[in-house]
């Protein structure tokens, strides 16, 4: 059975193609202004690259904010279930998932059978998400993908006290003016994100093992800050950023008949 998972996020659109439980291909592109164009383009490019037609695909599941825009999806499933499923594919015994994406951060708790039993998401605020990091990267004039490495070189972790992304940016600019090093500031930014995440996780309770997914999982600095606060080692798949799409493709395998 050939299935496709499409995760249309606020910043990036991800695709995963699976055949009989095996990941064939994954890809990611920017969503931009037009989510429909984003998923159509990435799907067309993916199928073309694999030498497949849309008619070859048995089932499609869409997830993410833009899931309802995918007219060809057999089913639309929220990203919580898809991320949980994707994490289970990576680590069958997983009990919790931390997902920090572009505008959302989520914490998912599962039972020992892999069913989602509780979840928490960030309040209506982008602080503690990928968006927060983008704003800080601009303020510090550092490419985002260098954040992790730089925070490893920090001598101190500067405290960022502002709860709001906009005000935290002002605070960072003030710290730069005072001569604080980028490394220390970035360590403070990571610590701030980790603190918010851990507070949110406290509402549902943490059970090991814990998998981290989402684009921010690539940032070693945040992973380390989280591990330090939680006292738990986090497992991070290579496919962290496309985990939702993988989960959607897996759930597509479980659909019966054509539900379009």
């Amino acid at each position: 059975m050939l299935t496709v998972g499409l995760d249309i996020g606020s910043i990036t659109t991800k695709v995963a193609v699976m055949e009989s439980g095996r990941i064939l291909y994954t890809d990611i592109s920017f969503t931009g202004y037009n989510p429909e164009k984003a998923w159509r383009d990435i799907l067309e490019r993916t199928l073309s690259g694999l030498g497949l037609k849309e008619s070859s695909v048995d089932r499609i599941v869409s997830t993410g904010y833009g899931r309802n825009n995918v007219s060809i999806a057999h089913k639309k499933i929220t990203e919580i279930l898809c991320h949980a499923e994707g994490a289970r594919h990576f680590l069958p015994k997983v009990r919790c998932v931390i997902d920090i994406g572009g505008q959302d951060s989520k914490f998912i708790r599962m039972d020992d059978k892999g069913s989602v039993v509780d979840f928490a998401m960030n309040d209506k605020c982008s602080a503690g998400t990928g968006r927060f990091l983008e704003v800080m990267a601009r303020a510090l004039e550092v490419p985002l993908d260098e954040f992790g490495e730089l925070s490893n070189k920090a001598k101190n972790t500067v405290r960022i006290s502002s709860m709001c992304t906009v005000f935290a940016e002002s605070e960072v600019i003030s710290l730069i003016s005072k001569g604080e090093s980028r490394e220390n500031i970035i360590a403070g930014i990571h610590d701030s994100i980790a603190s918010r995440m851990v507070s949110m996780m406290g509402r549902t309770g943490v059970v090991k093992p814990v998998v981290m997914t989402g684009g921010v999982a690539k940032n070693i600095g945040i992973r380390k800050a989280l591990e330090k606060k939680l006292g738990i080692k986090l497992d991070v798949p290579e496919t962290a950023q496309v985990n939702g799409a993988i989960g959607a493709a897996i759930l597509a395998q479980n659909l019966n008949g054509s539900n379009r």
Binding site: Y65, I77, T78, E79, I80, L81, Q103, D104, S115, V116, V117, D118, F119, A120, M121, D123, K124, R203
Partner: protein, 343 residues
Amino acid sequence: MERFAYYDTGHEFPEEIVMATGFTPYKILGDVHEPTDPADGYVHNYICPFSRSALTEGLAHSNEWAGIAFCHGCDTTNNQYDIWKYHVETPFLYWINTPANNNKTSKSFHARELRRFIDHLEKKFNVTITADKLKDAIKVSNKIKGLMRQLASLRSKKDIPNADYHEIVRKSVQMPKHEFIKELESKLKDWKKRPEFPSGMVPVLMTGSDITYPEWMDVLESSGLRIVRDDMSLGERYFAETIPETGDPVEALVEYNSKIPQPPTRLPFEARLDYLFKCLRETPVKGVVYQTLKFCEPHLLDLPFIVDQIKKAGHKVITIEREYTPVIDQQVVSRLETFREIL
């Protein structure tokens, strides 16, 4: 009959006293569709958006009301009284210091406060509010509460969309009472004939900040969640109990107020939890939706304890924060749909 407006973030206001004065009580609910620019000139943007909407309504419509009274509710309510005093034109503005406790001293104080309110109304409007008039008003209120209990109980049995119930609870605090009784009787006949509770909907208990606009009810509906119980002031808190019809009517109002499901502005918060557990015992639900308006401090302060206790009792809970806007964004929809998926 002329309207007398009141600003009450709980269900503390003695509507019956206003009815006995000869006015229709009208609860100020703001209008989410109107910008709060007029109020924002007097109140900081970080203050509760509902309170700014209420002030905007007051600024625009106070000349349509015989007078306005506040009840001691959340801090935002209390501290806005002076703002209204300076900026809202009205011939009569009053603040009733409803106590936060239900002990003997508090009840005695509450009775004095209500008598003082009566005294001021009598002097201002040149009326005599007799015990008989109050008793008649109490009877009318009790009739309404009885009918609303019957209507509300149908939510778990019949196909009653969230917006239909919401329309009724809004009208309960704004419509002339006798006209409303006729509408309730008609609705009761209609709702009893409705189809059975739809299999595609999930029954939930809702708690949290009062919902004053139907769009939020619609988003719950489209997420597959049907509210069958609640403890909100625009909801069951208004009609869960009956006012005693014997004895002194002012004492009866005090006694009634001490027994209604508590809002988060009252102490202790275990009393609020007791009512929620009572709802959960009486009516099968799949989960609890605890929604709060952004910046709604009383509910946000109660939230960690209440949610923790409900979860420990084995119930699934979603906590969700909303902006004061009729535009429902995808973040909220995703959260509600996910909650439905895991129930």
